[in-house]
Every structure is written in structure tokens, then in C-alpha cells.
Amino acid sequence: MLDTEFFRRWLSAAAAAVDREADRLTELDSAIGDADHGTNLRRGFAAVTAALEAEGPATPGAVLVLAGGRLISSVGGASGPLYGTLLRSTGKSLGPADEVSPEQFAGALREGVAAVSRLGGAVPGDKTMLDALEPAAAALAKDPEGFASARSAAADGALATVPLRARKGRASYLGERSIGHQDPGATSSALLVAALAEAAVREAS
């Protein structure tokens, strides 16, 4: 079972990863966007960390709903509402339970990813965060405890955005010139999924 602590660990690992990789994310965003993705997420996850400290939400769902809300209130840009919705929607699907099974989480994450797709109107292949989130959610749907393979799926998905032409977000303005660059949002999504795997490993040990 995955408890509240697991989700806190996830988000704290995510915050650390985003902080560590912020410059790289911004660099990627400067090639095909507006050079703020790293700064955006660093600010957002710092707010999440602070809120989790301050409010101490008691259930997995509450942790994710709180985190999503903080992202919405502190990030801005495209990624704020999208990542905010991802976490809020996933959290809402988890309901009020104190612990959730990996199967429940895999289902909830699918809901969350679907909500991102609905909100932003993007589908896999559009060169967005969905190109990392979708394969990760699909991997967990197949093997709910396979966090490591979810991580590889997300990482592969992020890498696979390189040859794509962007159809959503700022990068789409570049047309053909968006080809050959890795999408910053897919890259940060891969970090979030890797953080999940990290939280799972630490739990196992």
C-alpha cells in the first residue's frame, strides 16, 4: 500500500529534482519556448514543499490536491495549470483513503493524465508533457508496481519528443524549427516520474 508519507516523499523528491535540473529545463525552454520552464517549476515546487510542511495534509489524496492547488497558485504559464490539474485530478481520484493500493494510484494517475489532455487539448505526439506522462501512466496501468519501468517509459517518451514537430504550446509557433529539440515539459514530466520511482525505492528499502 502507498501511504501519505509515500506521496510526500514523491513530491519532495520531485522538488529536489526540479531544483537541481532547473537550469537545464530553462535551457531547453529557451531553444523552443520562452526560457522560463525551470524557473517556473522551481518556484512551484518550492511552494508545494512549503505548503506540505505548513498544512500537513493527512491522506494521499489531500497531499496531491494541496500540491496541485499550490502549483496552480504559484507557477503560472502553461505548466502551472497543467501540472496543477495533473496532481489535483489524480488526488481527487484517490478519494479520502489513508492508504491506496498501487492499482488505485495507477488508475488515478490515468485520470490525472486524461485531465491534462482535456485541459490543454494535446495528445501524445504533440511534443508536450503528455509524451512523457502518457507512457508512464500506461506502464503503471500494466504493472502498477513497476515504478522503474514507468520511469524508463517517461524518459524514453521525453527523448522521443526530439524529432517531433510541436503542435501545442509555445514551441508550436516555431513550426519546422521545433524539430530537433527535446520538449522541456516532457523532460520535467520525466523528472516527476523518476521522483516517483525514487519514492518507491526508498519505501522498499
Partner: protein, 328 residues
């Protein structure tokens, strides 16, 4: 860069703006700039916002005859919903609020969330999207046209109608009309530097330019060897006219991207007027200046709006904001 640390650029600017403009109410902590006399009884309120780095847009356009409030996000990052919810609450006189939103995924999503929340709190709300940038061509395969120079026209003209006491539906309708009558095209002669990145957002060698840029320091659709002012005017004006196909006179905004000297911008305007003349499209009003910017980017954009009597009357109506001021 003339900054302290990247993290405080926006609140620092808001403090400086508050000091320079006692006629505005600047809420630094919550990042909302409000007309000092808001809410104005009987008046529809206009709220806009977007990433910072486009100044004077939007904060410099807050005041009688234009915006009631502006919500600045971080640099090139759309504001968060909380800001717009707070702004709407501060300016709503009961006549409703119009959100003027530039068409970027981030702005659209954040304003949409804000609209939902504000409506929940009982505010009558309408939203107009500005999407005037003809450089974004195939809207099926993109996030759609960007909102650029036309934003100023929408805010000025809808703001004037609101100031006259028109109801929300009419203010919304005129805003939509200005947007659908306007097109823009932008050119970068240099990249800009964001505080967070600390250097240029892309690499543009001297002697080359980017055609079809937006206002977020992103590269354009095409890089070319440097062109003369006249060649750039030919290219930009024709790109706009070919899409707008105006049937009468236009209102022209000849806009600097940030670092282009006014001397050069006026010279560019001469070329813009030449091209308009040769295409038989007179500019009945022309505004030249640095209004919708991309930090310290060198370059320019041309916005043309097919004008009719109503739009011209509202354009000429008094406005009193930090950056745009005439009449009365």
C-alpha cells in the same frame, strides 16, 4: 541587467511603479495594479494581464479610458488565477468584468481558471482572446495565433467604450471586433535576455534577423540576412495586409520591441507608410512607440486594424494611463 536578483524583478518593479504612480493602487504582494478610483460605479471593468517583460503592456495601460486592472506574472510567464480573481473583485462595480487575454496556452488556462472562480463569487464575466499575429500560420497545427500588438488596440478601444458606460455585452463585442479587424507581424534584430536566464534566449548573430517573432524572446519562423528598414516594412506590412485584406483605411501601430531606438522606429514608420500608400491603404491614425515589448529585444512589429467610425471615435477618446495618454 539593471536588477537585484532575478527572483524579485516583478515585485521590485511594482514597488517602483507604485512610487511613480500615486494615481494607481499597486498591490505588490498580490501582484495586482488597479486604477486608484476603482470600482467605478456603473462601469464595466476591464482586466488584463500576462507575463511581465512586455511593459508598458499591461500595467502601463491601467487608468481612465483603458484598463481597470492588470495582473503581471513572472517574466514571460502568465499570471496565476488568484491574481485575476483578486483583480476582478477589486474592480467589479456590479456591471461585470471583461478579461482581455492574449492567446497563449498559459494565459488562456490561467484566465479560464480565474473566470470560473470569479463567476463562482458572483462576478459577471466575459473573456476576449487576442490573437492577431499572422506569423503563426497553420492554426490547426499550433496553439493558434499569438496575441501581440492588437492587445493595445483592444484595451484602448474597449476601455473607451466601457468608460462611456456601455454594458458588458457591447464592450465585449467591440473588443472582439477590434481583435478580428487587427493583424500583426513582428521582426527581431536581436534576442532578448531574461533575468532568470541571465543572457540571450536564443543566438542571433549580428547581421541576421528573425522574421515572424512573438513577444517572448522566442525565435521566429525564419532567419534571414539583415534587411533594410524598407525591406522589413515591405515584408511585414504585406504579411499583415495579405491576411487582413482591409476594405478601407487602417489604424496603424508601429511598435518597438524594447531596445530599438525611437529614431530608428520613426524611420521604420516612414517605410511602413510608404508601403501602405503603395497598396492604397491609408493609415488614418498612427501610433509609433515602444508599447508591446519583449524586454531588451531589438526589433519592431506592425499592427494594422481596419478602422470604422466607431473604432476611430473610441480610439480618439480620452485616455489617461502611465503609458498612453491623450484627450480631455
Amino acid at each position: 541587467m539593471l536588477i537585484n536578483v532575478p527572483e524579485t524583478v516583478v515585485p521590485d518593479a511594482l514597488r517602483g511603479m507604485a512610487a511613480a504612480h500615486p494615481e494607481l493602487a499597486v498591490d505588490v504582494d498580490n501582484r495586482v495594479i488597479v486604477r486608484g478610483d476603482a470600482p467605478v460605479a456603473g462601469k464595466v471593468a476591464l482586466v488584463s494581464g500576462g507575463g511581465s517583460g512586455h511593459e508598458p503592456l499591461h500595467g502601463g495601460f491601467v487608468g481612465p479610458g483603458m484598463l481597470d486592472a492588470a495582473c503581471p506574472g513572472e517574466v514571460f510567464t502568465s499570471p496565476v488565477p488568484d491574481q485575476m480573481v483578486r483583480a476582478a473583485a477589486a474592480v467589479d462595480s456590479g456591471e461585470g468584468v471583461l478579461f482581455v487575454v492574449k492567446n497563449y496556452t498559459g494565459d488562456v488556462l490561467n484566465f479560464a481558471m480565474a473566470a470560473e472562480l470569479a463567476e463562482d463569487e458572483g462576478v459577471r464575466l466575459a473573456t476576449v482572446l487576442v490573437d492577431d499575429d499572422v506569423a503563426v500560420t497553420d492554426s490547426l497545427y499550433t496553439a493558434g495565433r499569438r496575441g501581440t500588438g492588437a492587445t493595445l488596440l483592444v484595451e484602448k478601444i474597449a476601455g473607451a467604450l466601457a468608460e462611456e458606460g456601455a454594458p458588458l455585452e457591447r464592450v465585449e463585442a467591440v473588443a472582439r471586433k477590434v481583435n478580428s479587424s487587427s493583424r500583426s507581424f513582428g521582426v527581431a534584430l536581436s534576442a532578448c535576455s531574461t533575468p532568470a536566464k541571465g543572457g540571450p534566449t536564443f543566438d542571433l548573430p549580428a547581421g541576421e534577423l528573425e522574421l515572424g517573432v512573438g513577444i517572448h524572446g522566442e525565435p521566429g519562423r525564419e532567419r534571414r540576412p539583415m534587411m533594410t528598414s524598407g525591406e522589413i516594412a515591405d515584408f511585414a506590412v504585406e504579411a499583415v495586409l495579405d491576411d487582413l485584406r482591409p476594405t478601407g483605411p487602417v489604424l496603424a501601430l508601429v511598435n518597438g520591441m524594447g531596445a530599438t531606438p525611437l529614431l530608428e522606429l520613426y524611420g521604420f514608420n516612414a517605410e511602413v507608410q510608404r508601403v501602405l500608400g503603395s497598396r492604397g491603404v491609408p493609415a488614418v491614425r498612427t501610433l509609433v512607440g515602444t508599447y508591446v515589448t519583449s524586454l531588451d529585444m531589438a526589433g519592431c512589429s506592425v499592427t494594422l486594424c481596419q478602422a470604422d467610425e466607431e473604432l476611430l471615435r473610441l480610439w480618439d477618446a480620452p485616455v489617461a494611463t502611465p503609458a498612453l495618454r491623450w484627450g480631455r
